[in-house]
């Protein structure tokens, strides 16, 4: 349900004259991922994270975002990727969903890309079942595949 509504704008955009989408791209275990720019509230460098016991690994903990307590989700754990190597600091991408701020921990931030919607394809079949759920699809950019993250699903679950 929510996914279709989230995707709808870009489809609409595809029908328009300039079928492009702006994505904030980031690295996760040597893969390039992207989320739509208008979902992003801000990007922060590594923050002190307060761990929350009794919870899945995907929830890295809580961070203090200017007095607001924000849940941080480790996208590596969420996407069943190996844990971030010791000593490598995560970067927070703070997204705003239904009035709530949520931080996504990624390895590093890449560029904001304007991608051609015609290069969009659904999730490749080769991907693992669980991970497929969390991706909207992929954009075929020069030389590299850009995986579009379904933010909504990535933060719930």
């Amino acid at each position: 349900m929510t996914t279709t509504t989230a995707v709808a704008p870009s489809r609409k955009a595809a029908a328009a004259a300039v079928p492009t989408t702006q994505l904030l791209t980031f690295e996760l275990a040597d893969h390039l991922y992207g989320i739509e720019v208008d979902q992003v509230q801000e990007v922060l460098r590594s923050q002190k994270v307060t761990r929350v016991p009794l919870h899945t690994d995907a929830i890295a903990g809580l961070i203090n975002l200017r007095g607001e307590v924000v849940t941080a989700i480790d996208l590596r754990a969420r996407l069943s990727l190996p844990a971030r190597p010791e000593g490598q600091d995560a970067v927070n991408i703070v997204v705003r969903l239904r009035g709530e701020s949520i931080s996504l921990l990624v390895d590093s931030i890449a560029d904001v890309l304007e991608v051609d919607d015609r290069s969009f394809e659904p999730v490749p079949d080769t991907l693992d079942g669980d991970v497929r759920e969390l991706l909207r699809g992929a954009y075929k950019t020069q030389g590299r595949l850009l995986l579009a993250l379904d933010v909504d699903r990535a933060v719930t679950g």
Binding site: T50, L54, G67, V155
Partner: protein, 804 residues
Amino acid sequence: MDGMDDIISEFLVESYENLDQLDRDLVALEQAPGSRELLASVFRTIHTIKGTSGFLALSKLESVAHVGENLLAKLRDGVMAMDPVTADALLAMVDTIRALLGNLERDGAEGDLDVDPTVAQIKAVLDGTAKAAAAPAAPEPAAEPVVEAPVAVAAPAPAPAKRRRAAKPAAAKAAAPAAVEPVETAHDEVAADHAEDAHEPAPAAAPAAAAAPAVPAPRGGADPDTHRRSAADSSIRVDVDVLDDLMRLTGELVLARNQILQQVGSLTDDLDLTRAAQRLNLIAGELQEGVMKTRMQPIDALWAKLPRVVRDLGATCGRQVRLDMVGRETELDRTLLEAVKDPLTHLVRNAVDHGIEAPADRVAAGKPREGVLRLAARHESGQVVVEVSDDGKGIDPAVIGASAVRKGVVTQAALDRMSPTDVLQLIFAPGFSTAAAVTNVSGRGVGMDVVKTNVEAIGGTIEVESVTGKGTTCRLRIPLTLAIMPALTVTCGGERYAVPQVNLQELVALDVDADPGLVEDVGGAPVYRLRGELLPLVHLSEVMGVRSEAAAGRLTVAVLASEGRRFGLVVDRVLNTEEIVVKALGNQLKSVGLFSGATILGDGAVALILDVQALARRALRSLAAERLDLSGSGQRDGDTTGTGERLLVAGIGGSGEVKRQIAIPLDMVTRLERVPASTVEVVGSREVVQYRGEILPIIRLDRYLGAYADATRTDLEVVVYADQRQGGRSVAIVVEEIVDVVDASTVVHSDIDDHGLLGSAVIGDRVTEMLDVRAAILSADPSFFSHIEADLAADPYASTLTEV
């Protein structure tokens, strides 16, 4: 009289606001004479003033507003059209009303202002006679108020005095012939009477009247002491959301202050910076207090509805009730006020319905016919205490107890151990209602348990006191505010957690290294004897699934109470107490259920706030803990065997049906251990075992009691008895197996006696023998006790084992 003053000042504030609006509307009306909307608004305002002034017996105000309303009604209904003369009359009316309100505010009375000219002017307009007469005279003075009005509107707060002063010369100039002192005391008396038939002199008065209102108006406003703020200026209406926002921001500021203070304290020697930080500290503190005050409302806001409730209920139930209220001005946060509304109303209803007797019964009991229901509120150590007391028949603990047992709220055994006060608190237990008959008033399912739940939901407590025949008092304790709360910060596994101070009873540090017997293990659950009561211990690290970083051999225990249960939360370290601002957790984390929220600590780090209720439920869910909880609440009176309340049941000798069951008072048991049989050593004629750096003498119960021993076992089940009074010296009692922990009060004792036993009983359909522990130890080595006879005389269970 206080109440009257309140009403009048509220009326003043409201009316001033309305008048400012009226000025604007009237001027706008001249621009758009046909506007129904504006007319309706003006009409409403005047109507309200008329209504309220009639109610408050302000006859002059009423008479002016009354004719004004008549005029406005005609305008509104389209019978008359708005023209400058009408506008003048209406503005004159507004000025007169304002002047009257000024008098009212200053002197508390309408004063000697003459309203007749204004009334006459309006009547003239109404009769249509004013037009010709007033038209030539009107324009000049009329222009003044019209021009002035917007000034008053634009800056109502500081302007009134200035405006009125400005108006005075203008009016005096314009209305020179009419500006004689319109004061005639005698005339004044009958002003109101005149009002109705004043239209006769109207034509004559019209020219004067047109100008006159300008005079009374300044008279009302120019004289008053200008440093005194008028009612309208001293209070404003503010959207509650704005206050909530302010409150939130202040909370943030307090947090930021905490962070700065901490940094300054640890990082710098800069005197100026330290000073600035101190000032920030003070200011933030005062700001917090100030903002909190803005959200405070007197409890009277809640109580105001209760006299009616009591009256109606009294009539329905056939009671005569007088309602006394003490401490109406006691203030508390409006959200809390809202939250206690239902519980309080319920308590009041209960008191009238169940507490106070019918008049005839009261007389029979030698009391006055009229019952007294007393509401009292006061501040007490950072809390608001609200009491609802009646002088009715009171609550009989015996009746409550019997009813509670009948309804299965509590067992008879548990009831027997409860003090009368504790029995009374059973009325708050779920599924309990004392109403013999379900009445219209109470007993509809919204019981006292709901009251308790609601009060506890806002961090409050409730208790009841009662003297049979004399009356009942319900006492609510409510925190002052919810947004900021004091909490204890503790660490566990490297993370910090906040524990709401309201749940905290005390902190205990246990040196387990020095005294291993401090923490005892019963049925796998660790317990600590806190002043004789068993306190189940919950290791936070275990609940959280993290590794404890506490120094080995030391336990830091926070004694917490929740829902009537006490337990000790073992944490790594206690940091300090601080005021925290509660933040909601994200949706992803709500499922954990152990945290009631999060907060930001002084150093900017996020800490989770422990939900003590949930923690208690979760950690104490195990059967052993349930039992301990039972024993903890009923550990006082002895029973027939004198062995204490809880019994550890152990099996000895052989297996299956031939096994004998032995009961050992749980009081004496500190730990249950399993030791390898190979570790048993022989010292002299005695068997001993090394255990946690101690040497324990062994009593093989099967041999001692002449049972058939199973010699092939490789592990021995050992019941460790440690006597803390003797420095924690212990003895190990070897049994075949641990069977159960049971409540002694359910045990039936018989008189069968035997060597080393106190008696026997049936536990779990098996005959179980009561072990005489002292005798058993004595039998193991009588010489142990030879030199401490005095101790033993004082306490038959004291076993002191020296020189092992």
